[in-house]
Amino acid sequence: MTGILWVHLVKDLRIEWRSREAVNSMLFFALLVVVLFSLSFDPQGAFSRDIAGGVLCVATMFASVSALNQAWAREIRHQVLDAQRMAPTPGADMFLAKVLANFLFVTVVQVVLAPVFVVMYNLRILGDAWKLALVLPLGTWALVANGTFFAALSIRSRNRELLLPLILFPIFMPALLAMVLATGSILTGDSDPTLWIKLLLGYDIIFTTVSLLLFEIVLHAE
């Protein structure tokens, strides 16, 4: 971790600590999705284990979109991004700090959501529960790394709230499927999720690298 990355990260965390905009909006939205699904399907036993992975991932995905948009809206609000562009530091540090900050915010939401989720869906994990500690961070990283990049790409657009999910969701689809299938495998204990975990890891490495390489162009685009 370079010093500049740390400078950006501390700033992002401090601003979120004071405003709590991202975490509050994500938490409220994710809780709403989880509760509404549990009321709609009345999940019990094996059925709840089948759908739980999908519900958790989709709830996280939709909730994250608001936070991802807010992350860059803050930089645009008083043209702070222009001041950052004037500084002689690499954009990649700013991007990676933003991804780390968003990753932490989404993780906080997942940690709060998890017990509610277990209770509402009467879950009992039949597979290796510890593997969730691999699947969820890897899936979350895939979401926030792509989401942060595409949010930056769409930030100058007038319809950015609409544009971000339109670009992000199709590209995130392979990671979403891997995340849902891996979570489902762990919850039901029916199959081995290792292949899906490897896929998530590969996806994270490729998309994070590409985003880092392209971010400088996005940052200085007019």
Partner: protein, 227 residues
């Protein structure tokens, strides 16, 4: 200088605009603007809203690329490469509402590693603000935000200061203090470009006064600096 009187490059040349045009779609914000900016001079840009003043400043800052023509800042044809030596102040504060002035400035200071920057407290004192003020920027008045924004620009001790409407939202006394401060910078061989609607305020430090009209240089007159 206007296009017709481009002087050969001199060692003291800070920036040169040569036939610069900027198009936004079919709208030409700047049309064939040429000028030489010498080190240690203060240039005041006048013009009505939409005349192209801010666009010109953003091109000099390297935040916009000209559609036609060339810009050289500190001899480099890509101004963004010289960005560490340029201080740009927009009409927006370019700071975070959620942080205090000190926190904002500390953050930006850290983005200039290896450069001999002012401390946040020094920069705030220079613009007449109390560095110990423990309020977030969101609770500042417009004038105080404007001063904090200038303090941010001063942090890396830039050699070229580009100030877009620096006196807006300021009371007369604060604006005069800022003019005196800028006069001091000019004496340290720093180049200043100011856009303003308040000609009377900026005139005492102006070496040259540009007037832009519909993206063209309408006039280019010598000033009578008195501060």
């Amino acid at each position: 200088m206007p296009a017709s009187s481009l002087a050969p490059a001199r060692p003291s040349l800070c920036a040169r605009l040569d036939q610069v045009s900027k198009l936004f779609g079919s709208f030409a914000a700047l049309r064939h603007v040429s000028a030489d900016l010498e080190s240690g001079r203060c240039y005041v840009l006048l013009g009505e809203n939409g005349a192209g003043k801010s666009t010109l400043l953003r091109i000099l800052a390297g935040l916009l690329h000209p559609s036609l023509g060339t810009v050289r800042v500190f001899g480099d044809s890509e101004p963004h490469k010289a960005r560490a030596r340029i201080g740009y102040m927009s009409h927006a504060p370019m700071l975070y509402d959620e942080l205090t002035a000190q926190e904002n400035l500390r953050y930006f200071r850290n983005l200039y590693p290896g450069r001999d920057c002012l401390t946040p407290a020094e920069a705030l004192r220079q613009v007449g603000l109390d560095p110990d003020l423990d309020r977030t920027l969101g609770q500042y008045s417009q004038g105080m935000r404007q001063r904090t924004s200038l303090a941010r620009v001063l942090l890396p001790v830039p050699e070229l200061l580009l100030l877009d409407e620096p006196f807006s939202n300021m009371d007369i006394e604060s604006a005069r203090q800022m003019v005196e401060l800028l006069a001091g910078f000019r004496q340290t061989n720093r180049t200043i470009v100011i856009t303003t609607h308040q000609r009377d305020l900026a005139a005492p430090i102006a070496d040259w006064i540009f007037t832009l009209h519909a993206g063209r240089v309408a006039s280019f007159d010598p000033g009578k600096p008195s501060v």
